[in-house]
């Protein structure tokens, strides 16, 4: 860990467990499912009157966290972890689905910093940041969760 990055890494570690996006409740409306299906080119079930038989695409859960944006700016949005850890690279995602979402239900979405690890590499170092999002139903039972990994390569 370079001298300049050590404080950032320490600060990131201190933030483990912190809520990164204010938790919110989201209703799984049919328009959201329609929009997802249309935009992904999935077989459309839009307009089906029997919503109980409609399947909510599983990875729609990824899009339930809605962040605030400055609509007067064309800048890239600030990262969830705003610390000088190096250049970020998408390290992948792991979803766990307990049960399918149901159109019309309301779920609670919570996103927090799950872990921060550092690995020394031959060139410099790699900081591995995992953010966990949990989706729970009205009975506070977990419906789905996902862990998103971002790799920060330290500048050599």
């Amino acid at each position: 860990v370079s001298a300049s990055e050590a404080p950032a890494l320490q600060e990131a570690r201190r933030q483990v467990g912190r809520e990164l996006v204010p938790s919110k409740t989201v209703r799984i409306d049919s328009w959201l499912v329609d929009a997802f299906e249309l935009a992904t080119g999935a077989p459309l079930t839009a307009g089906a009157t029997d919503t109980a038989s409609r399947k909510v695409p599983p990875t729609l859960v990824y899009h339930l966290v809605r962040r605030e944006f400055d609509i007067t700016s064309d800048q890239r949005p600030a990262p969830l972890i705003d610390l000088p850890l190096g250049s970020p690279v998408n390290g992948g995602i792991e979803f766990t689905f307990v049960r399918p979402l149901i159109i019309g239900e309301t779920v609670r979405v919570e996103t927090s910093l799950d872990s921060v690890d550092h690995r020394d590499t031959r060139r410099s170092g790699l900081t591995i940041v995992v953010v966990k999002t949990t989706v729970s139903d009205a009975g506070n039972r977990e419906v789905a969760s996902y862990r998103h990994t971002t790799l920060y390569r330290a500048s050599s």
């Binding site: 959201l32 929009a35 997802f36 249309l38 935009a39 992904t40 080119g41 999935a42 399947k55 695409p57 599983p58 990875t59 990824y62 899009h63 809605r66 962040r67 944006f69 064309d74 800048q75 890239r76 949005p77 998408n90 390290g91 992948g92 995602i93 792991e94 979803f95 766990t96 689905f97 307990v98 049960r99 399918p100």
Partner: protein, 152 residues
């Protein structure tokens, strides 16, 4: 979108979906409806200013493509319980994505409900392997033995 038929599939069967080249309309629709407002996904000027060779296709859209193929295998009562994805190379606007899945295993009955494990990946002609992932599908216990035989 063209997909291979799923009838008669078994272990090591490879299924695929080929899609037309990703268009700006699809990305704008996806970003707008899903609340993704990083302009590298819809502005070539901003993407190139940020050092990308062109408009960048969202990682979450690519994951959705993997999930789409995995869920196309679900029968009544089956459930996708796990999905993973790692991105291996960049996908840009205009790339055609082919999504493939291979059935890796179907677990025995000893553990109760059966599980089907899949390997999934996205490829482009320009860069080859773009994403790779896995999926686990819990098979409904009310499948008949004949139906289970059909999937391995």
């Amino acid at each position: 979108m063209n997909s291979t038929p799923s009838a008669g599939i078994g272990p090591d069967s490879v299924l695929e979906i080929t899609r037309p080249p990703i268009a700006i309309t699809q990305l704008v629709m996806f970003c707008g409806s899903m609340g993704i407002f990083d302009p590298i996904h819809f502005s070539a000027d901003i993407a190139m200013r940020e050092g990308f060779p062109g408009i960048v296709v969202n990682g979450s859209l690519r994951v959705a493509f993997l999930a789409q193929l995995a869920t196309s295998l679900l029968g009544p009562g089956d459930q996708l319980t796990r999905l993973t994805c790692r991105h291996r190379s960049m996908i840009l606007i205009g790339d055609s994505i082919t999504t493939r899945a291979r059935i890796e295993s179907i677990s025995g009955r000893a553990a109760g409900r059966q599980e089907m494990k899949l390997k999934l990946w996205n490829e482009t002609a320009r860069n080859g392997l773009a994403d790779e992932g896995t999926a686990t599908i819990e098979l409904a216990s009310n499948h008949t033995d004949d139906e289970k035989q059909d999937v391995g």
